[in-house]
């Protein structure tokens, strides 16, 4: 800081009124009555993500081409971006502020690009050695189990995974067709997770049958149950058992195992969820004429919207407001199915209007194979004795998946019913975190209501309206020929372009505006941050307005 010059005698003065010092003695901060301060918020997309992925951060890192760090930012909350980037129902996009300006950012496509990079660059995943004495058994190797195992291993705990099938992955491997999630990707994701730390696997071991929970309890300090739902729910109608009627999940498992399937000329899929869409589209790939019959309307369908659209594009027919009533066989073969017409009545507990039969209105369809996809169930054999279950699901008592049994946690579909991969990933991670706190007797982290920003806080003058970058897809005719992945992922320039669209809501991405526009040179530009120099900040608040993303808040001085 400069010093103010005062003269005691004319003899000290330059005769020609020449400056001999600067003005930095003049602390103009005293003029200020409102103080700006950096106050980063949580981007709404992150709040929309069940796994709380730091979406803004990884997109920002992509804009800086810091891909390894970007991938690392996802991995903090989700060990399988290559999976979720393909199959997630991306609630983050519904929260994206950009949708109020033009179109939401294509977050899953960015996530997938990073996930794939993480699989290509094997050195990005740094292996962690066992550093803690506690051992945890993780039952089930679907997304919940994998996630729980991964985060426990990251923290140095020893994990043993139990899986009843020969191959790991659960729903990822058996329930999602390859055109959405190639087996190769599943294999690589699992191998990356298993290779990341002290994780051992006991495949073809069904807990509850082959080994009891009691035994596990003796050997392990805790147990995580991520069993998933691997049984299709039955229709509960006459003639359901028998040829021509197949549980959707079993059909998908066959398809994913590479077995030849032939549903015949006419296939009907009953249900409106993602399994129904997967079954319908797989059936289309065998050449069948496929109709989805759903008891509500398109609006109530729980399937991902994109999946419904894709199914339509691939020629799947939809028949709404109908439910199978009766199966008619002739010569041991399925001949036709009688459907009951429905209408929507009062809303049920889910908020959706309940379908009720329209008295006397039925119709028939000629069907070679009828697939059931009205929901899945868990197989809780040997489990229910140990932990309290309800509605054929494990009952949890806390956010982290605590059950009636002290050291047994549960998460994923077996707790929530059919939900999503990302929900399962989140559940696995939360359980891992809670177990760590139990093992280390750590305090629960303080929960604070996060501040966020909306379109009002965005200075849209700094953005141009652009369309969302769409991922390249193979044509429908090609898609229908087999199980080739439809979505081929962003090209590098598309990745950059889409990442550049991000508003980075509430979080600084070093755009320089605050520093650049400060009339008082009172913002210090540092390596990875800015600081207000309150000695000189006059409190004009230009920085607050010109921050494109609402990162700077204000408060009155002296309050």
């Amino acid at each position: 800081m400069g010093e103010k010059i005062t003269f005691k005698s004319y003899k000290e003065m330059p005769i020609n009124a020449m400056s001999i010092a600067d003005m930095t003695w003049n602390l103009t901060g005293s003029w200020r009555n409102i103080r700006p301060y950096y106050d980063f918020k949580m981007s709404p997309c992150r709040l929309g993500c069940p796994a709380m992925e730091d979406i803004q951060r990884y997109i920002f890192l992509v804009t800086e081409k810091r891909y390894e760090e970007a991938w690392g930012a996802i991995i903090e909350n989700n060990p399988m971006p290559a999976v979720t980037g393909r199959v997630c129902f991306h609630p983050c996009m519904d929260k994206c502020t950009r949708k109020d300006f033009d179109q939401a950012i294509n977050i899953p496509a960015i996530e997938r690009s990073l996930g794939d990079m993480g699989l290509e660059n094997r050195d990005w995943m740094k292996k962690v050695d066992a550093s803690k004495k506690e051992k945890v058994a993780v039952v089930g190797s679907g997304p919940a189990g994998l996630s729980c195992a991964f985060y426990l291993a990251r923290m140095g705990y020893q994990v043993a995974m139990f899986e009843s099938e020969k191959a790991l992955g659960g729903i990822l491997r058996w329930g999602i067709p390859e055109y959405r999630l190639p087996n190769d990707v599943v294999d690589r994701v699992i191998s990356q997770i298993l290779g990341s730390g002290p994780i051992t696997v006991r495949a073809e071991t069904t807990v509850g049958r082959d080994i009891g929970l009691d035994e596990l309890e003796k050997e392990y300090d805790a147990i995580f149950l991520g069993l998933g739902l691997m049984k299709s729910r039955s229709l509960g109608i006459e003639g359901e058992k028998g040829k021509g009627i197949e549980p959707g999940l079993e059909f998908l498992k066959k398809v994913n195992s590479g077995e030849t399937v032939s549903p015949g000329k006419r296939a009907v899929v009953v249900g409106g969820g993602n399994t129904a869409m997967d079954v319908a589209r797989c059936a289309r790939r065998t050449g069948s004429d496929v109709t989805v019959v759903y008891r509500r309307t398109m609006n109530e369908m729980p399937a991902i919207k994109d999946e419904i659209e894709e199914a339509e594009k691939e020629g799947v027919h939809f028949h709404f407001l109908a439910a199978p009533k009766e199966v008619v066989r002739s010569g041991g073969k399925l001949a036709k199915v009688v459907f009951q017409e429905m209408e929507l009545g009062e809303p049920d507990e889910s908020g959706r209007r309940r379908p009720v039969p329209v008295e006397g209105r039925t119709f028939e369809l000629e069907v070679d194979t009828l697939f059931t996809a009205i929901g899945e169930q868990a197989d809780l054999t040997g489990i229910e004795k140990k932990v309290e279950c309800e509605w054929n699901m494990i009952k949890t008592t806390g956010e982290a998946g605590e059950t009636s049994s002290a050291r047994i946690f549960a998460g994923g579909d077996v707790v929530t019913g059919a939900a999503s991969v990302v929900d399962a990933v989140a559940a696995g991670r939360k359980a891992a975190g809670k177990l760590d706190r139990i093992f280390t007797s750590a305090d629960e982290p303080a929960v604070e209501e996060p501040k966020t920003v909306g379109i009002e806080e965005i200075n849209t003058a700094y953005f141009h309206q652009t369309k969302r970058t769409l991922v390249p897809r193979i044509p429908v005719e090609e898609a229908l020929k087999g199980y080739l992945e439809i979505n081929s992922g962003f090209l590098p320039e598309q990745l950059e372009a889409e990442a550049d669209r991000c508003f980075s809501c509430g979080v600084c991405n070093f755009c320089d505006n605050c520093w650049m526009y400060c009339p008082d040179v009172a913002i210090v530009r540092l390596e990875d941050s800015y600081e207000v120099n309150y000695d000189f900040c006059k409190g004009c608040l230009v920085c607050v307005v010109e921050c494109p993303r609402g990162c700077i808040s204000t408060r009155e001085e002296g309050k």
């Binding site: 400069g2 103010k4 010059i5 003269f7 003065m13 330059p14 009124a17 020449m18 400056s19 001999i20 010092a21 600067d22 003005m23 930095t24 003695w25 003049n26 602390l27 103009t28 003029w31 800086e64 003058a461 141009h464 070093f510 755009c511 320089d512 520093w515 650049m516 526009y517 009339p519 008082d520 040179v521 009172a522 530009r525 390596e527 120099n533 000695d535 000189f536 006059k538 409190g539 004009c540 608040l541 230009v542 607050v544 307005v545 010109e546």
Partner: protein, 302 residues
């Protein structure tokens, strides 16, 4: 360090005496980032005579020759000649004057220097009135504006003087307008001008929260809206006044969006603002027609 949007070198320090949100100060900071330390300023009476700070202090790290109100261009002419004769041919002399010192009292010296094509830069930071003396109208004050000498009952009825047209008529090698809302563009233009020999005239719109009766935090926003409403087009005039280039790559905004947040226009009715918008559109069309015309001029190498 991450590359910065604009040069990080600061030739203006904190502690200066400008008001909150001063556009003239931003303009100086950006301009000097473009010009670099081998720049000598000539500052006539204007806000910057005060902003610089009291003797024996200064807030700039380049030499400044403060001078008389009407004498920016002539003092700069002499300074440049003196430096050259002293053997310093590298330093760029830049006159830095307000709108009063440019449009009004200083226009004679400016015209003289431009006609002689003195090897100087001349930047008018335009805050559209005599702000330093307490907001009196100048010939750069826009039509419709209140000032202390054009009170609401008799607000300014005459349009702003078209200084760019005047300067273009002097056949000087480079003329540009710039806005503090677009620092990169401003810096690029000053850099371009710096490399040219002869008289270069820069016209920077510099919002004055005090004089415009504007919340200081909105000063940059106003500078931007002035451009996007076409009230203050960003243009370049080259080839000795014959080639006009108008920046059009922005989303147009209504003139009312620019005028309404400013207290100096508060008295205007919607109808009056509409008629101002018509005038703005007409001027914009004139600019575009000049651009088209210059594109069709034969015999100029571009």
């Amino acid at each position: 360090m991450r590359p910065a949007k604009i040069p990080t070198e600061e030739l203006m320090t904190s502690g200066h005496l400008a008001c909150q949100g001063c556009g003239a100060t931003q303009a100086m900071r950006f301009a000097l980032k473009a010009m670099g330390p081998k720049t000598a300023l000539v500052i006539p009476a204007c806000c910057w005579s005060v902003i610089d700070g009291p003797f024996p202090h200064t807030s700039l790290k380049v030499p400044i020759c403060h001078t008389l109100f009407e004498a920016a261009a002539s003092t700069a002419s002499g300074l440049k000649a003196g430096l050259e004769m002293r053997g310093d041919t590298e330093t760029v002399v830049m006159a830095w004057a307000g709108d009063g010192g440019t449009f009004d009292i200083g226009i004679q010296a400016l015209s003289g220097a431009a006609e002689r094509n003195e090897d100087i830069m001349y930047c008018c930071y335009d805050n559209e009135a005599y702000m330093n003396t307490g907001i009196q109208r100048s010939s750069a004050t826009p039509v419709g504006a209140w000032t202390t000498t054009t009170p609401v009952a008799h607000y300014k009825k005459r349009p702003k003087k078209k200084i760019i047209d005047i300067m273009a008529a002097h056949s000087i090698p480079y003329i540009a307008t710039a806005s503090v809302a677009y620092p990169q563009d401003l810096i690029e233009k000053f850099r371009r001008a710096r490399e040219i020999k002869g008289t270069r005239f820069m016209h920077v719109l510099a919002p004055c929260p005090t004089g415009w009766k504007l919340a200081p935090e909105l000063s940059v926003a106003m500078a931007r809206l002035a451009v996007t409403s076409r009230v203050f087009p960003l243009i370049e005039v080259t080839d000795n006044g014959s080639t006009w280039k108008v920046w059009k790559d922005f989303e147009q905004t209504p003139v009312a969006d620019y005028m309404k947040p400013q207290g100096r226009f508060r008295h205007l009715t919607d109808k009056e603002i509409d008629s101002i918008e018509e005038e703005v559109d007409r001027n914009w069309q004139i600019m575009l027609s000049r651009e088209r015309l210059s594109a069709d001029l034969p015999g100029l190498e571009r």
